[in-house]
Symmetry: C2
Subunit: 462 residues, 2 copies
Amino acid sequence: MSRIDQVLARIDSNLDDSLNRLFDFLKIKSISADPDFQEDCEAAANWLARELTEVGIAASVRRTDGHPMVVGHRKTGKPGPHVLFYGHYDVQPVDPLELWDTDPFEPRIVTREDGSKVIVARGSADDKGQLMTFVEAARAYMEIAGDLPLDITVLFEGEEESGSPSLEPFLIENKDELSCDLALVCDTNMWDEDTPAIAVMLRGLVGEEITVKAASRDLHSGYYGSAATNPNHVIAKIIADIRDENGTITLDGFYDGVIDMPQDVTRMWDTLGMTAEKFLGEIGLAVPGGEKDRTLLEQIWTRPTAEVNGMWGGYQGAGSKTVIPAEAHAKFTFRLVGDQDPQKIQASFRDYVRSKTPQDCSVEFSSHGANPALRLDFDMPALAQGKKALQDEWGVEAALIGMGGSIPVVGDFKTMLGMDSLLIGFGLADDQIHSPNEKYNLKCFHKGIRSWARVLDELAQG
Amino acid sequence: MSRIDQVLARIDSNLDDSLNRLFDFLKIKSISADPDFQEDCEAAANWLARELTEVGIAASVRRTDGHPMVVGHRKTGKPGPHVLFYGHYDVQPVDPLELWDTDPFEPRIVTREDGSKVIVARGSADDKGQLMTFVEAARAYMEIAGDLPLDITVLFEGEEESGSPSLEPFLIENKDELSCDLALVCDTNMWDEDTPAIAVMLRGLVGEEITVKAASRDLHSGYYGSAATNPNHVIAKIIADIRDENGTITLDGFYDGVIDMPQDVTRMWDTLGMTAEKFLGEIGLAVPGGEKDRTLLEQIWTRPTAEVNGMWGGYQGAGSKTVIPAEAHAKFTFRLVGDQDPQKIQASFRDYVRSKTPQDCSVEFSSHGANPALRLDFDMPALAQGKKALQDEWGVEAALIGMGGSIPVVGDFKTMLGMDSLLIGFGLADDQIHSPNEKYNLKCFHKGIRSWARVLDELAQG
């Protein structure tokens, strides 16, 4: 039996233990966006550092101004490329909690009607389960071969779900330690449950929160209605007018830098057989809501978006309360593509909001990030090696896909450390990440571990 | 000393005890809209029944399908008109609680910079403090005269702040018991702190809540953005388009039945010296937000309105969460005037919302009331008697005013019991009812008690 086959066999026989370790990790409530869970984020970092060190990747918890980083190293003295593996231990908030079938931090295996099994817990897919596919691959490799096939640095952050404010300063401060030949990032999806994928195109993200303030206090709408400007109406108008009736985003200069895909790429996508019925049917919808003259895959991969992730103002309780609130709020995210400039779009958005804010109101802004879109190098050797490893494991060719979501760290690796990234992940579109009842297919976890073992092996062979 | 002067002197010397009783009442958390406070509403009803009975108005707590009514009677055998006094013991919710300087249910006296004193508590002005002006007037009258000057029935309800669902059935069921010659209602404002007022025009109210549902679950806006319809955007568009750029409400047939005021009435209003600066300046605003071709007093008294009292959808926590929510919500109230038909407006609103709801969404409606506007009879003898009593107490002529708010019970009294109402209240525009730090001026409370003693005396003299 070849060494890689021995490693794969060890992964198979280790699976129950791998799952137990993942469950321990999933029980830690590492919600980065909510300050109430700061100690849980610390606990997750500590857990990972212990785990990596036990595997043989000497790791430590490193302070930042926010949640800590976990950095680990394994020097092998081998000639292959030195790779950095990236993942994040923080998870999304869990609200609305009442929509979870069970406690989001009590992981469990659910067997579905077709007999397949899924791991249900907050973070099971995003990103704890994904991150652990790599850690478990390294563990099996160490156990069989006594070492890894190439030099490895590991970087786990704890603020990915809240805009990664500490990442840039940390990369700059530790540039020499973290600069490698290639980054491996496991935070993306497969094409479908049988087809692996490598993400070669990532949209950027601009996140903006606005607060519109009107009267100096909440008002009775019977006394003040019409006369006093209602900030709910102001926010609604700002949201409503940001897209026109064709779904086109109306911000000044918004489409500057948007690049149409080459026809050979869009032709390849046509062969993927994705339809609006298929993509939207699973979530109970049917009609693509974006730009009317763009196909579904264009809308979700190559076109920029404007979405309101949250809005609120006034009374939300039971029954009626005749109030005009003193202020109202909205959280926007824009997904960017091509060469769209995040700073220009942030400025254009703020100008737009100010132009919609009546004289009697003031508006306050806060930024939740501003990152450009990314396209990876199609000719990078690691891309071919990754594809081969994935084909060996899954038996079908890996799809090279776009990504609706953004993974800002990939841009930071490129601009700050001069390092390309290989984005391989085993999530699925129905994993409900950021939603109640998040899950990660057991098959994805198991074959994900196997895939990383193969990828490391391929990369080491050059 | 005349009998009324003796009664007024007793009111003055009783004031501290009157305040203590009001404080006991204000401590009861009778929030009718929130089911968590059902027992508190019961407690408030029981407290009132005991209080009335102690005063000499034999009272009982009467069951309804919602919060109970309190009904009391004092038969005097005197020839004057039999009057019914109405008030409500329920109060508005207190959120946002963090904006209260102190506990809303721990009443206290605050001395302001100018030396005047105010009673701060939820319900101090709306309506517990106002209601107690009448009870305390009756108490002083009983103590001095051994009886009241005319037959009195008292009706206190506990659902005024949540649409009064039990009121109509209760009035119908107890029509004989509750039908009197005249209703006295104490739930309105003075013109200003020196000028008493009688409200002769009340706007109606249609309250509607909508829920727009899109995808079958919350979605990741990176994956589904643009493609999946965002219910936040749908709600925003519904809110934004309900008024045009001139502030005109766009619902089909909305202005049917709106009546322009006679010129002599609007001329009288011009003499009141109300300006946008005065009315809006106190709350930090300056520019009337309603129909551009209407004066401020028209906007708040004689024109119908459309206000969003609450809207919400998606993530409201700290930081960013890239979610497209499965549903979003809004609460609307429309103030009606003249002969506007509440049922037609409810139907027109629902048609409008449906027309704005995309194919991929569904919408659910719930009603928070539908009451027409009211104008009182200017020639009613009780109006002249009430004016005289108020002028005797305050030394200036009482203003006959419109009311932005609606008091549906007045319409119910007229249509179900054939009874006119005299609306006299001692609230002020800056009482912050429905807002944090609600207050009631101590002077309003004290002179309000004295005013009711005088009104009873005038009405008894015929």
